[in-house]
Symmetry: C2
Subunit: 435 residues, 2 copies
C-alpha cells in the first residue's frame, strides 16, 4: 500500500498513538496541546467502556451509553488528529506504520492496541462461541439470547428446547461472573413476565472455570463469596473444569463431560493484538510485548507499549501487572508525563503501579470489593461498584444515561432494552462488516 | 411447511393480528382481555416508531428509544400470545396462514402488515440506495454518513471527496424533509467541530422531489414554508425532478441531469407488503388491499385489513385515506370496537376518519403544523411537533429518554450518538440477517 495518510506537517515531533482504549485515551488527553503533534488511531470511532459490555448484552444498557465518540473528546484541540484505521505492520527502522487506510510516519509510536479473545488454539471453540470484547459482540449476544427464547416457544422436542435455554459461560473472571449474574437475574425477573409460555426453570446458566476459584485477581475470600452469590441466583458454577471443544451443539470438557447447548460465551482468556513487523523476541506469553519501566521496547527506543498489550516486570510485580483498566490508565498518565519530560530534557519517571483495588458485581446488591486495606461485600460493595463504574465513564451524558438506566432497572426489576435489531445486509455491508 | 405454531387452545375464537405497527398494536391492546384469543405476529420483537427513524440515522436518538419490546406491552395479559414471525401466505378457504416459523389457523385474521419501500421497478435504484423504513436501515445510514466523513479525510481526489460528501435524498414527504433538515443541522453544528480538517461547505445536501411541491399531504402554504426553511439551512431542494437511475456512483434524473454521489437515501414511495395466497383482484394501486367500511375484504369475511396496507373509499375520502399513523390507529380502535360488537351481535360501526392534522419539522424551531382550523409555523409548530411525537411514543421510559436526548441536543447543539457500531458477522449471522 503506497498511499499515505494525509496529516498536515506541523513542525512538531509526531506522536502516533494506536488504540483509543483506557491507556491510549488517557495518554492522548494528557499530551494533546503540548509540544507534540498527536495522531490517534483506532479501528472504531469511539472509546468503548469494556467493564459494562456485559450489561449491553443482557439488555440493561444501550451500546451508545458505554461508547463515546473519540472525535468529540478532542473537539477544538490543536495539533491533534484522529483517524479511524487498523494497524497492520510497523517498520521500526524507517519509522513508518502501515494501516488499512494508508501509511504514516512517526517520531514516536505508542502501541495501545489492547487484547483480543484467546481461544488457545481450539478452532471449534473459536468458530462456535461468542466472544465479549466489543460492542458488536455484545449486541450479537443480546440478539442471540432473545432469539433463543423466541425459537424455544416454537420447538416441541425437549432436548432442542433445553439446548436453546442452556447458556454456558466459559471463564470465571469479572466478565464471566458478571455476565452469569446478569443472565440469572434475567431468568428471575424478566423471563417469567415476557415468556409466560416457557417454564423459567428450563433456562439454565452454567459458568465453567478451569481454575479452582473464580475472580483469579481477587482474594480466596472474595472468590468464594462471588461463588455463593452466583449459586444463590441459581447459576451452576463448575470450577476445575476446562472446556476443550464445542461444535455449536455439544460442549466438551477435558474431564470427559459433555453438555448440549446452543449458546456458549467465551470469556476465558485474552491475547495481545499482535502487530506485524516486530521481531518475535519482543513478544512474551499471551502475545504481550516486554517493556522496560518507561514503557519502551528496549530494542526500539521510539516505540512504547501501554495497557493490556504491555508486559513490564517490577519489584512488586515480578510476573507483570494484571491486564486491567487501572494499569492502562496509569501507564497513559506516566507516559504523558515522561513525554513532557523528554522535551525538557528531564530524567524520565519509572512506572510504578498503585493498586486502587478491585471490584466485581454478581447482581443487585451482590458485589465484592477489595479496596486498599478493606474488603467489603454485599450492598455496600455493590454501591461502590456502581459509583466507581459511573465515574469512570467518559462524558457527562453517558454517566447520566447509565445512571438513569440503572435506577430504572433497579426500581422496576426490568431491563427494558429487549429489542432484537438485526443488521440489515446491503450491498456495502460486507465491506463494512470486515474489521 | 407442515409444522404448526404451538398456541394453546383456549376455547375462544382466535383472532390473529399480523403486524405490530400503529394499527396492529392499537387493535391488540384494545381487544386483549375480551372474548377472543389474540395472537399477534410481527417479524420484529418490537414496535417501531417510524416518525422518528430519521433521528436515529442522524445520531440524535438511540434505536431503543423509538423501539418498544412487544412482549413488554402485553405482560400479564391472558389469552394473548406473541410470536416473532413473518407471514408468507394465507389460505383463506381453510383459514390457515403459513409463516416462516410454521402454520397457524385462525377464526379471524387482521392484516396490519404496513408498507415497504417502493422503487417503482427501478432495479439500479433498489440495489444502490438506502431505504428508511426500519431501525436497521436507519442505523445503516448513520454508519454510512459517519464512514463517508472518515473516508473523505483520507482521499485526495477532489471529485471522490465530493461524491463522499454529497448526500442526496429522494422524496419530499415528511421523511425526506425531516432527514434533509437533520443532515443540514449536522453540517452546521457537528461537522465543523468533529472534522476540523474538512471544509464543512463541501458537504452538500440535495432533496429531489418529483412533484411541484414538498409535503404532498399538506397545504401549498406549508409546503412552501418547509421549502424556505430547508433552503435557509442550505439544503438544495429540487422540485419537479424525477430520479430514474443510480448505479452507486452517478444519480440520473429524467430530465437528463446527473450528479455524482456515494449516498442516496430513497424515501420516494411505498408499496403494501403483499402477502401470498390472496387473489390479485383484492389488490389495488400501490399493493393496497381494498376493504369496505368495516375493514373487511369483501370476498373474505374473516379477513380484515387495517393501516397503510388497506384502501378504503369513503364519501370524504373518495380516493382512500392517506397512509399515515393516525389512520392506522383509528382503524385499530374502530375494529376493536367492532370485534366486541360482533360478540354481542350488535351492528358494526363503519369507519370514519377524524383528521387530527399534520405536522412536519425541518430543524430546531422550524416546523409546520396544520391542526383543525389553524395553521402554525416556526417555534410554536416545532414545540407542538415535539410534544405530539413524545406523547405518541410507547412507554414512559421511551418518552423520558427521548425527551432528555432532545433537551440535551437542543442545549448543546450536538447529537452525541456518533458511534459507528458495525455488525459483527459470526457463523450464524447470515441466517439472522435474512429477513
Amino acid at each position: 500500500m503506497g498511499k499515505k495518510i494525509h496529516i498536515p506537517d506541523s513542525g512538531k515531533k509526531r506522536l502516533v498513538i494506536v488504540g483509543g482504549g483506557f491507556g491510549g485515551l488517557k495518554l492522548a488527553r494528557k499530551i494533546t496541546g503540548s509540544e507534540y503533534q498527536v495522531v490517534l488511531l483506532d479501528r472504531h470511532n469511539y472509546h468503548q467502556f469494556q467493564p459494562l459490555l456485559y450489561q449491553v448484552s443482557t439488555a440493561g444498557l444501550e451500546p451508545s451509553s458505554i461508547s463515546f465518540p473519540l472525535r468529540k473528546i478532542f473537539q477544538h484541540k490543536t495539533n491533534f488528529h484522529f483517524r479511524m484505521a487498523s494497524l497492520l505492520t510497523i517498520d521500526p527502522h524507517r519509522k513508518i506504520i502501515e494501516t488499512d487506510i494508508g501509511t504514516l510516519n512517526y517520531d514516536y509510536l505508542v502501541l495501545a492496541l489492547g487484547v483480543d479473545t484467546n481461544y488457545f488454539g481450539m478452532e471449534s471453540v473459536q468458530n462456535n462461541t461468542i466472544p465479549m470484547k466489543t460492542v458488536s459482540e455484545a449486541i450479537y449476544l443480546r440478539n442471540k439470547v432473545l432469539l433463543n427464547f423466541e425459537k424455544a416457544l416454537n420447538e416441541s422436542k425437549t432436548e432442542e428446547v433445553d439446548a436453546m435455554l442452556n447458556f454456558v459461560i466459559v471463564g470465571g473472571g469479572p466478565t464471566g461472573v458478571e455476565l452469569a449474574g446478569a443472565l440469572a437475574e434475567m431468568k428471575k425477573y424478566v423471563i417469567p413476565k415476557d415468556y409466560p409460555d416457557i417454564d423459567p426453570n428450563r433456562m439454565q446458566i452454567h459458568l465453567f472455570e478451569a481454575m479452582p476459584g473464580l475472580l483469579a485477581g481477587m482474594s480466596d475470600k472474595s472468590s468464594s463469596i462471588a461463588n455463593k452469590y452466583l449459586e444463590k441466583l441459581g447459576v451452576n458454577v463448575r470450577l476445575n473444569t476446562m472446556v476443550n471443544a464445542y461444535d455449536g451443539k455439544i460442549l466438551k470438557t477435558k474431564n470427559g463431560e459433555s453438555i448440549r447447548t446452543d449458546t456458549v460465551i467465551w470469556a476465558a482468556g485474552v491475547a495481545g493484538l499482535k502487530p506485524g513487523g516486530l521481531p518475535d523476541e519482543v513478544f512474551t506469553k499471551g502475545n504481550r510485548i516486554k517493556t522496560d519501566r518507561f514503557n519502551h521496547i528496549p530494542d526500539f527506543p521510539e516505540i512504547f507499549v501501554i495497557g493490556d498489550l504491555s508486559y513490564m516486570e517490577t519489584e512488586k510485580y515480578p510476573k507483570g501487572h494484571p491486564q486491567v483498566a487501572q494499569v492502562a490508565i496509569q501507564h497513559g498518565k506516566n507516559l504523558a508525563e515522561n513525554f513532557k519530560r523528554m522535551i525538557k530534557g528531564e530524567e524520565l519517571k519509572p512506572f510504578e503501579y498503585k493498586d486502587k483495588g478491585s471490584l466485581a458485581t454478581v447482581g443487585r446488591k451482590l458485589a465484592v470489593a477489595e479496596l486498599p486495606g478493606i474488603r467489603i461485600k454485599g450492598f455496600i460493595a455493590w454501591i461502590i461498584w456502581l459509583f466507581v463504574h459511573l465515574m469512570q465513564l467518559v462524558g457527562i451524558r453517558n454517566r447520566f444515561f447509565v445512571f438513569i438506566n440503572w435506577w430504572w432497572n433497579y426500581v422496576l426489576y426490568d431491563q427494558s432494552l429487549r429489542v432484537l435489531i438485526r443488521p440489515k445486509l446491503f450491498r456495502y455491508q460486507e465491506k463494512i462488516a470486515e474489521y
